[in-house]
């Protein structure tokens, strides 16, 4: 998978940044040729991930870029990183309905369902990085 020149980085600290991040994501998705339903999936996934940064970490960033698969397919990649406390039990947060905040507990498992690929890396008191991708079909 080769990175592309097209990359947008949005610092995330407050709830205002959640909107900025998902608008950037939707714009890039549209430019890459994703249809309205996939644009909504991508924007919603970014919203969920960016909200986790605002809820659980002092700050973080969302990086959105176009990517090309090994077989030449076009995709969008979203990386959400924070310097928060990390997630103690990843298996637990990937369960529907589990939440430590006032959310619905649908954030991470829901985001995984909206996207094609989902990876999470987390380390206690270092931070969390979630990478998601959607491929143009």
């Amino acid at each position: 998978m080769a990175p592309s020149a097209e990359e947008r980085c949005i610092p995330v600290k407050t709830d205002l940044d959640i909107v900025s991040a998902r608008v950037e994501g939707r714009n890039l998705a549209r430019e890459l040729g994703f249809g309205t339903i996939d644009q909504a999936r991508i924007a919603t996934a970014i919203s969920e991930l960016a909200r986790n940064i605002v809820l659980y970490a002092p700050e973080g960033k969302v990086t959105i870029r176009a990517v090309v698969s090994d077989d030449g397919g076009t995709g969008i990649e979203v990386v959400c990183e924070d310097n928060g406390p990390g997630i103690a039990n990843v298996e637990l947060v990937m369960q529907d309905g589990y939440s430590t905040s006032s959310g619905l507990g649908m954030g991470l498992p829901g985001t995984k369902r909206l996207m094609d690929e989902f990876e999470i890396k987390t380390k206690s008191s270092v931070g969390t990085r979630v990478t998601v991708r959607k491929w143009l079909k």
Partner: protein
């Protein structure tokens, strides 16, 4: 910080509010409070929450929408959500969000019709009003 307020209109006994911009969390919470205060002040029997122009409903906004319906219900006001876009309906289901107990209608016109029916039914069942 000052947040842009969403206009809440009154038609007969009903309130109508249409979200036209991307709502950040504080604006959404402010909107919920404004709605409940207007319901109390106007003694509205019903509320239409129109989401025609909303292109993203994440778990936060979904929860807030459900909360508004539940809170308004506690005050005796029936809520109908209208105009959910197809992509919003799809992402809500995939996300796993259930808007339980929330009545929805395709558009504003059908929403008003549904609201009338629900309020009339309440009246014939002897609700105090």
């Amino acid at each position: 910080m000052e947040v842009a307020r969403i206009p809440i209109l009154q038609i007969e006994n009903y309130l109508v509010a249409s979200i036209q911009t991307a709502l950040h969390d504080k604006a959404a919470t402010q909107f919920r409070d404004d709605l409940l205060e207007r319901i109390y002040a106007t003694k509205a029997r019903g509320l239409i929450l129109d989401l025609t122009a909303v292109d993203v409903v994440d778990s936060f906004l979904a929860r807030l929408t459900g909360d508004i319906a539940e809170m308004a219900g506690l005050m005796g006001t029936t809520v109908v959500i209208t105009g959910l876009q197809p992509e919003v309906a799809i992402t809500l289901v995939e996300l796993g969000v259930e808007l339980r107990g929330v009545t929805t209608a395709l558009n504003l016109e059908k929403g008003i019709a549904a609201l009338r029916k629900m309020v009339e039914k309440e009246n014939t069942h002897g609700a105090i009003g």
